[in-house]
Amino acid sequence: MMRITSFFSRFLLAAIAVVLAAVPVLGLDLGTLNLDKLIDRASSAIKVGETVSKSAENFTPSQEHYIGRTVSAMVLGRYRPLLDNDATYYVNLLGQTLAQAADQPETYTGYHFLLLDTEEINAFAAPGGLIFVTRGLLRCCQSEDDLAAVLAHEIGHVQRKHGLQTIKKSRLKTAFSTVWDESATILDNQKLGQVTGAFGGTIDDITGALFNGYSRSAELEADQDAVTILRRVGYDPNGLVSMLMIMEQRFVGDRTGFAKTHPAPADRIAAVRQVIGRYNPVSSPAVRQQRFLKFVGRS
């Protein structure tokens, strides 16, 4: 009996501590109670816990931005951009509008889109929101709703940090543990060398995954996000299925590039159908279809 009571009282104390820790978060004013010390201790304990398990989630938006810039430079080292201002504007109008409705609409400098001048069917999303879609993938889209699905899928990869998750743990350790004198604006050379080494490794990890394909589960997650985003903005999520159906036809006999590295479109269609139900062909309003065809004609 005694033992049980003390067990419970310990729990009671723990529970009180939990509630007290919630006080500042709730913005409650307990006035006369002096809880600052207790709360400080609780929150510093949380911070220590955080530093122990650094992961891809711990990159700040600005760090993610710098990773994404170099990853993008790598993508552009392999593919040429499509030089067409009107097509670029259209894909950014559509893509940035969709991104606003994502769970993570804000990244350090926002989402930006570029078409790549290649027949290869592929798309790349760099951390922070720099997104590339090939002309070949564009050819799998028959409506603005289909293209919206492609862009929303890539936005899904960004907000789920699928790129960052491919970074090896050892590099994270260097990235997060190398901190220099905060008053110095220029790092000393040795530390700069260490961090730059980890940075280069990070870029290799991400581009490796980008060019060889994310896991099946990452692709399915990005598809789920695409459906959510399309619905919020007012596009037909069937666009994702119709695009995948065309992709499937184009992939027949092709086991290179995207076809080799991504889960089979049929597999993705089955997963999407579990969310949206029976497939109904997309029927875009005439004005929307017209501007889409004009865009495709240019690109």
């Binding site: 940035q96 509008t97 409705a101 769970d103 990244t107 905060e182 919020r232 903005v233």
Partner: protein
């Protein structure tokens, strides 16, 4: 005695978990993106009433879904920010950099001291001189305004569901 204790505890934990699940954001946060868009209402295409620089401290007034109503008393500003624009960390700008007018270079300076930053990119580029950032820089200039987005949706007869309050 044990049973009473247990019932009391059950209530206590239920109460605590309700409180905790309600407890979202800390009271003070900072803008963690280059330019925070302060909106009139908690909706993704709502009018932008002000732009907040990187590091700007804000007070959380209210929450709705993924949106936080914030106030910046010194500048008499109030509006809604998406939580993805906010950090619970205090972002310290370099001495002398007024957060109100922290230009790009000053904001960049404030990033120094933690992992991958502009210095690291520059060093990486020095080691890889063939890597071309021209298009990356250009891409980052592609920006569509809220008005253009609204016009685009209206012109294409696209109707957002529920006004985007998520």
């Amino acid at each position: 005695m044990g049973r009473v204790n247990r019932v009391l505890l059950l209530f206590f934990f239920m109460g605590a978990s309700v409180l905790l699940s309600y407890a979202g954001l800390p009271r003070e946060m900072s803008v963690q993106i280059k330019e925070g868009q302060l909106r009139e209402s908690p909706a993704f295409l709502a009018k932008i009433v002000a732009r907040l620089p990187y590091g700007e401290p804000v007070e959380i007034v209210a929450e709705r879904g993924a949106w936080a109503e914030v106030s910046i008393p010194q500048r008499q500003l109030r509006g809604w920010l998406h939580v993805s624009a906010l950090s619970s960390e205090k972002i310290r700008l370099q001495a002398g950099a007024a957060s109100q007018q922290a230009g790009a270079s000053r904001a960049e300076v404030a990033l120094a001291g933690k992992g991958f930053d502009k210095n690291v990119e520059e060093e990486f580029r020095r080691l890889h001189p063939n890597l071309d950032f021209q298009w990356v820089d250009r891409m980052e200039t592609f920006r569509v305004s809220t008005a253009e987005m609204q016009g685009f949706l209206a012109q294409g007869a696209v109707q957002p569901a529920g006004g985007g309050v998520e």
